[in-house]
């Protein structure tokens, strides 16, 4: 009886875990609507805020690793989220979702580029779409930044990384290589202290 119940109603995670096709479609939708770079902001808005597939903690861990490893950040992030949702196939479908539909879009754009450029408003409209898209990154920065502001240690790390990359124009690899170990060591000390 108990076994039967289990089979018919698997412990329903709340909200439901998306399958490979749902992941492909969700990432594909982001891929063909997100203009101007900074796609991880869209992923957060869609999958963390709206659909609640991924927790903010898990998203952030994945994002940090995506940035630390080589590769396009949002593709790495799709692999992270996909794998966490449902293993290898889901990871593959997520990655294909964020690459293949935009690849088709960019080819279409290349075909109509010269024709499109004849319309006087087209460039201006795209500037507007890009500007609105940067808002996704800002929204994510504000949300994520607030969390790190709670502690002096995390706030300091965040500000040093921000200033180093944005204003001192230091290479990202260098900044991450220096600050990530420090930040992780501080977090480890907190973990040990919390466990006591």
């Amino acid at each position: 009886m108990a076994v039967e119940t289990l089979r018919e109603a698997p412990p329903a995670p709340e909200p439901p875990v998306p399958g490979p096709l749902a992941l492909f479609l969700a990432f594909g939708k982001i891929g063909i609507t997100a203009f101007g770079g900074g796609l991880s902001g869209w992923v957060m808005q869609d999958m963390v805020r709206k659909r609640r597939w991924v927790s903010e903690d898990d998203f952030l861990a994945g994002l940090a690793m995506s940035q630390a490893l080589p590769g396009v950040n949002v593709v790495n992030l799709a692999i992270w989220i996909g794998y966490r949702m449902g293993g290898g196939l889901s990871a593959l479908c997520s990655a294909l979702g964020i690459v293949v539909p935009p690849m088709i879009m960019v080819s279409l754009f290349a075909l109509v580029y010269e024709w499109l450029a004849r319309f006087p408003g087209s460039a201006r409209a795209i500037e507007g779409a890009v500007a609105a898209s940067i808002g996704f990154m800002i929204a994510m920065g504000v949300r994520v930044g607030q969390r790190s502001l709670h502690r002096v240690a995390t706030a300091t790390v965040m500000i040093v990384v921000f200033v180093g990359v944005a204003f001192l124009k230091l290479p990202i690899v260098l900044v991450v290589a220096v600050l990530a170990p420090i930040s992780v060591a501080l977090a480890y000390r907190r973990e040990v202290a919390d466990a006591r």
């Binding site: 940090a64 500007a131 940067i134 800002i138 965040m158 990384v161 990530a180």
Partner: protein, 175 residues
């Protein structure tokens, strides 16, 4: 040309995939150097047009390699270039997430995740600045970006509507 253009595409983009630490933008200068200067696949003007197209098209901006691949080797070249730039780094990420998911909840692992969060936050804030600096369109760009962020944070307006709204406002107001 005796050598296959397809092999040349792979030889250029596979190593770049593994060098693109910090995102696709990191290897853009190297893509330019290889495609325009060393291999002379495309002219400077074509590269700039490709760059403009990949910037205004949605999705990852590294898809400039799709366009270059097409110009070097047609449809197959486009496919090869795209997968060459995405596959090697993706396999690396896949290996990491597999290992990471196998040992879950260890103290060091929680420490790594929590320790990386403020680093990620700093990088996100930095990319806001970088994106704003790279965007063309004048004073309205930061204003519209902040307005869009404010709307998004209410979680009440659809993402696509915000982007269409941005395009419409720019079109109506002009420069």
């Amino acid at each position: 040309m005796r050598d296959s253009p397809y092999l040349a595409i792979l030889a250029v983009f596979v190593p770049l995939s593994l060098l693109s630490v910090g995102g696709g933008q990191a290897v853009l200068p190297e893509i330019h150097r290889q495609a325009v200067l060393s291999h002379q696949w495309i002219s400077e003007a074509t590269f700039l047009a490709d760059y403009a197209i990949s910037r205004m098209s949605p999705g990852p901006s590294s898809l400039i390699v799709t366009l270059i691949g097409f110009q070097v080797g047609g449809a197959l070249g486009a496919l090869l270039a795209t997968f060459a730039i995405f596959l090697p780094s993706s396999l690396l990420m896949y290996a990491l997430v597999r290992v990471w998911s196998r040992t879950r909840g260890a103290r060091w692992q929680r420490a790594v995740e929590r320790g990386l969060a403020p680093v990620a936050a700093g990088l996100i804030l930095a990319s806001c600045v970088t994106l704003l600096a790279a965007a063309s369109g004048g004073w309205m760009v930061p204003v519209a970006a902040v307005a869009s962020a404010g709307l998004l944070m209410t979680d009440k307006v659809s993402s696509i509507l915000i982007v269409i709204g941005g395009a419409a406002v720019f079109l109506l107001v002009g420069n």
